[in-house]
Symmetry: C2
Subunit: 149 residues, 2 copies
C-alpha cells in the first residue's frame, strides 16, 4: 500500500486538467494541458514526469498520456471537491457561474473532507428545501436586495 501523501495544489491542477480533457476529448494532449492551465509546454513535461514518478499518470516521452487507477482516484477527488464548491457558490450563494468556477478552482485545494461534506450537505439541504415550503435561495435574494448588496 503506497503511502498517502498529500499532493500539491499544482499537482492537483494537472491531474484535474488531464481528467477533464480525457472526459471531454478522449485524450489529453500536452499542448491542451498547457493551454488549460496557462503554463508553458515545458512545464507540462516536467509535471508529467513528476506525476509519472508518483504513479499517477501513464506516460512515456512523445507517447499517450493517461491516468493510472490511483491518478484517476485522485483526480476524481479533486473534481468532486471542485463541483461541490462550485455548486454551493452558484446554487446557494447565487454567484455567477464564471466567477464560481474560478473561485472553486482555488478553493478546491484548501478544503478538507470534513468541511467539504458539510458544504455538500448544506447545498443539498438548501435546494431540497427550496422545493418544499421555504425557498432559501429566494429568501436570500430578497434579503440581499433589501440590504442593497
Amino acid at each position: 500500500m503506497a503511502i498517502k501523501k498529500n499532493l500539491s495544489a499544482s499537482s492537483e491542477d494537472y491531474l484535474e486538467a488531464i481528467y477533464n480533457l480525457i472526459c471531454r476529448h478522449k485524450v489529453a494532449r500536452s499542448k491542451d494541458i498547457a493551454e488549460s492551465l496557462g503554463v508553458s509546454r515545458a512545464s507540462v513535461t516536467g509535471a508529467l514526469k513528476s506525476l509519472n514518478s508518483k504513479g499517477l499518470v501513464d506516460y512515456k516521452p512523445y507517447g499517450f498520456i493517461g491516468l493510472t487507477e490511483k491518478g484517476t482516484q485522485q483526480a476524481e477527488s479533486v473534481v468532486r471537491r471542485h463541483n461541490i464548491i462550485e455548486s454551493f457558490f452558484v446554487n446557494v450563494l447565487g454567484v455567477e457561474q464564471r466567477a464560481a468556477k474560478q473561485a472553486a478552482c482555488k478553493a478546491e485545494h484548501a478544503l478538507g473532507p470534513y468541511v467539504i461534506s458539510r458544504l455538500l450537505s448544506f447545498t443539498e439541504f438548501s435546494t431540497s428545501y427550496s422545493k418544499k415550503g421555504a425557498d432559501i435561495t429566494a429568501e436570500f435574494n430578497k434579503y440581499c436586495r433589501s440590504k442593497g448588496v
Copy 2:
C-alpha cells in the same frame, strides 16, 4: 500611488500573524511569528525583509516589528476574509470551531471580494433568519441527522 500587486498566500499569512500578535500582545516578536506559523526564525527574518521591501512592515534588524499603514490595511483585509469564512463554517455549516479556523486559514487566500461578500451576506441572512421564524441552522441539523451525516 503604489501598484496594487496581489500578495502570495505566504505573505498574507505573515501579515495576519503579525497583526494578530500586535492585537493580542502589543508587540510582534520574531520568535512568536515563527511559532504561530510553524516556521523557523530564519524564515521569519527572510519574510520580514521581503515585506519591508514592499512597504508593508516597519522593520530594522534587531528592532521593533510594526505594520505600515499599507500593511495594516492588507492584514485587516486578510483577517476580515478569515473571519467571514470561519463564521460561515461555524454558524451556518455547524463545523467545529477548531476545524473551521484551520480551514479558514487556507481558504482565506482563495476567495476574492465578490464571493466573500456573498458569503458574508449569507451568514448574516442565515443567522438573522434563525432568530425569526425558520431556524435554518436547526433545520439543517435536522436534515443532517435524517441523512445520517
